[in-house]
Symmetry: D2
Subunit: 341 residues, 4 copies
Amino acid sequence: MTKTVAIIGASGYTGAELIRLIATHPDLEIGALCADRKAGMRLAEVFPHLRHLDLPELTKVDTVDWSGIDLAFAALPHGTSQQIVAAIPERVKVIDLSAGFRLSDTAVYERWYGDAHRAPELQKTAVYGLSEFYRDDIRAARLVAGTGCNAATGMFALLPLLQAGVIDPDEIIIDMVCGVSGAGRAAKEAMLHSEVSEGTHAYGLPQHRHTSEFDEQFGKAAGRPVEVTFTPHLMPANRGILATCHVRGDADEIHATLAERYGPEPFCEVLPMGEAPATRHVRGSNFVHVGVVGDRRSGRVRVFAALDNLTKGSSGQAVQNANLMLGLDETAGLMLAPLFP
Amino acid sequence: MTKTVAIIGASGYTGAELIRLIATHPDLEIGALCADRKAGMRLAEVFPHLRHLDLPELTKVDTVDWSGIDLAFAALPHGTSQQIVAAIPERVKVIDLSAGFRLSDTAVYERWYGDAHRAPELQKTAVYGLSEFYRDDIRAARLVAGTGCNAATGMFALLPLLQAGVIDPDEIIIDMVCGVSGAGRAAKEAMLHSEVSEGTHAYGLPQHRHTSEFDEQFGKAAGRPVEVTFTPHLMPANRGILATCHVRGDADEIHATLAERYGPEPFCEVLPMGEAPATRHVRGSNFVHVGVVGDRRSGRVRVFAALDNLTKGSSGQAVQNANLMLGLDETAGLMLAPLFP
Amino acid sequence: MTKTVAIIGASGYTGAELIRLIATHPDLEIGALCADRKAGMRLAEVFPHLRHLDLPELTKVDTVDWSGIDLAFAALPHGTSQQIVAAIPERVKVIDLSAGFRLSDTAVYERWYGDAHRAPELQKTAVYGLSEFYRDDIRAARLVAGTGCNAATGMFALLPLLQAGVIDPDEIIIDMVCGVSGAGRAAKEAMLHSEVSEGTHAYGLPQHRHTSEFDEQFGKAAGRPVEVTFTPHLMPANRGILATCHVRGDADEIHATLAERYGPEPFCEVLPMGEAPATRHVRGSNFVHVGVVGDRRSGRVRVFAALDNLTKGSSGQAVQNANLMLGLDETAGLMLAPLFP
Amino acid sequence: MTKTVAIIGASGYTGAELIRLIATHPDLEIGALCADRKAGMRLAEVFPHLRHLDLPELTKVDTVDWSGIDLAFAALPHGTSQQIVAAIPERVKVIDLSAGFRLSDTAVYERWYGDAHRAPELQKTAVYGLSEFYRDDIRAARLVAGTGCNAATGMFALLPLLQAGVIDPDEIIIDMVCGVSGAGRAAKEAMLHSEVSEGTHAYGLPQHRHTSEFDEQFGKAAGRPVEVTFTPHLMPANRGILATCHVRGDADEIHATLAERYGPEPFCEVLPMGEAPATRHVRGSNFVHVGVVGDRRSGRVRVFAALDNLTKGSSGQAVQNANLMLGLDETAGLMLAPLFP
């Protein structure tokens, strides 16, 4: 029951990560690879690490023959993505990895992203792609919006706690330490090795755009408006996001809530009470590690979540959603163990 | 007016950093280098980067001729340091870089460090070595206790704010991202390149020992007990600590307080309002960069401080203190610009 | 037709890499995990990145019930390995990843490794585990000796050329740049992040031990003694070895020889003439990329090979050999695409 | 006797390195900083690590008042540099850090760099800036051409050996491992952290441009044409170049030749026979470490040289040359010890 997918935006990191995962996926095959500016090239020229694969040549998206495609992954900048997704035939399911369809309210989108939404009607049909929390909706969806990678990390730490009402929604502080691949493959001075290596700094100040996803999802979970303080930091490593969340609540209750919630989840590992996760222990995998550590101040607790931004944070999540949307085993192709060291 | 110093514990990173700084210091020369287990070796065998210097051979500390020594730097583990410092002749000034003399209350020391203080009488004479805050005491001191490098970073961000009463002492959360050289040169599995690189994790949980310094210094500054939540994270870089401090207060007042307090300080740079510092911009230098960024939630503010743990956080601070104790220009030998990239 | 394997030395990096690969191998399951000093622990405590796997507890090797084991991987120091392999029941096939059985002449072994061979009889039965060159012998073997990871890299570049007689055997210079994980997980000062990062140096001077493997294999391929100059360098990256081999011959003939030899090989990719490979494009995979670049001096050619020392250089190679020895598809479990970035 | 300098191209890495070194230079002060595209900005906005310095604002080069300037450093791309240097008043001494004036024969320049030389008359007056080998010429020069950083590294290893005739000029192979800052600060995909980190590859194939400097200087030293094979590799570290040179000669004679030649040199350290240098032990300094290691094959020898590409390889060398040209102590401002770790 092999299904055929197209990847639009195959020359970026999330595109390459999709191809890497699909390369050993038992039920998916790649029918089209699009990268407008590199149309006509072989993927091996763009991503030499994938040169052993027998893949279609890169094409422009408007030349794709959609007749044999079951599902399209769009890994494009958000504005472009809205336009391109709108042009895909209705019978092809779509997973969009950009920020183009993550916020249900287009006015909120426009406030955070600074330009008008180019596919407002389509937005109404989009399901938020946090697989573990929208599984049934995703199964039934035609359009799924992949989460922000930072947003996903914070949500794995906190969504079950807000849903269960075991933390104070007004006292949430989220600090993150994030790898550089999240910034993508575009050539920017700030992302040069010489600029990024050997140090750290906070970025996205004063308010990183993924904050908008926290607002919507946390508010929904808590049943009331929630505003968090979110401060991401760049670290000199390619992959990985660690969320350190400061909350008020009872550490044991928090740990029990997470352990129960994630017990049946194949990709969510809750560490023993008092242990904290490391990003390097999930690298290249679809796993998320969650930990809870109390504080000497009664009522203050640190909740940690670690995942790989390119995998569980975007392309692995997308494949998980594709599995759901296409009626495949949810874990198919995704049980690759993390790469360490 | 050249002064002569001894370095005890010259085979560790803080020892090497002292030698690096003294190498171009106009008024200090090295009279003795001690490293018990490496006695008899040349420093170039232990630290090839210093091979161009004409230095005394490494010796055991008990063979030092103290007669020509004006000041000793002790860069040793804390228990050992208490014993060795206690044996240095009274006329020799001492700067201890360990945790051995940082806490004025030996009972508190014993609670946090787990063993009995070995020089409790000497402790009474020790001055806390945060140069910008204890300058006059340091000038007059015979024994100065170098600060914890994490502790120093947090204090540069917050001490002036607690002294001025412009933040709520009950609502302080300090996250840090720290380079690995702070763990020293001892061979530990957890500090191998393969273990540390390409990722991050929180360490020192549930309560890092430097928390005890925050307790004492913040309490003194606020005039009442202050308990902070402190969570350090390891990053794959050798040098640098970034403190991200979450406080309640008015962002403008906080920025103004820091700008005024640090205006005359030669090593403390306050960034323009809304900007955040990066550790790579202070690497190898005695500078600390401080930044203030508001939050969308009224009353919440992020205060950042970045310094090099081996320089401003320990050995550079120690040289600054030596300058004060020996009547030299406080900045002598310390105006080296950061190394970037 | 699932086969059951034991891993002896499961607490080191090559042990962990075996487990990572077997985790998604369709035909292998793990029956025993041994790590003498960590017996009684769960693997998740030693390698948190493998915590999602349902694995046997770590045991001492002498408590293993061999009755259900088809094949044992020994990932131990070489002296120890000779002893332990000698005690494994004859009906269990063995792949040794140490240097214990790589050299057919025990006198040569003793000269390079400095101690007496502890299983000289067994040595006579050992097959050298370079899969692509000893495939038939490996299929029939009971004991296979995994290659040195540096040795394998150089051989992928040069063995076909020496066999075909297209390069001068007296004019070979091999420089390598190697990742740090090859040094293993033992705590050594020289392998600390602070020591290794941000620089490079040549190591294993004047003659690295893997030179002995070149001597034997290159001599066999050329039909006469061959002595190369081999100089490995450490780079601040965990995985990967790049061999830059300087030879005399005709660049086009060299490229054609390699392209023809590796054409049918599933794991060996020969780049287009004039292109050079990068270690980051094979990371975490069983692929080796080979490239040929001429020089302006007629008759001088550079032949490059890049592989992942933990995968194609040791544990991936071992699984490939296990597939051969157990009658499985040679590529089973090994088609994982490289992890980039 | 303070001298005033201008830095043209202050927004690149070599420009920043010049400022870093001059910041603590006792006899130099900065009179003008030029960066055409960033004119009007403060240097702290471009290089926050230099924010503690009191520096002139960035200006366009054509607005510089040359009347108070003794010497100009030009840190620009080579074509641009030829034009701009040609427009500097004759009484201002000039050190050009580009490739614009390194090759005495403009036809050779045009062959390697692919465009016509824009200041051929000026070229005739240029002195090659390898301080230790052209000291007297540099003292007398008005225009000095800084060397390529790779070229300098190879020359420190081999020039004295070719001059002394102790190695075979026809049998030289130079492999290098180089840090990424040599590629400059321009935003290029290939220099992103995600692309560069965690691996290595050879670059500049088939013939890196610095080969042309080897041709000229080695030919001059040997008194006959010399063609080397030169293969640089990129490593994931910002600073440092390690040259591994394979030569034919007598190891002891080679070591003795280097030790004697560099004995009086303040910045050249020859390691004990059999030891190899590491780039991390010269980082941020003007030192070059040279080592000699024999090979088991009689007559083959490895000669290593390590330096910091931004310091001894370009900006440190430039300051050393400025000291010579301005009649200052040659080592003034340059005795900064390397930064390790």
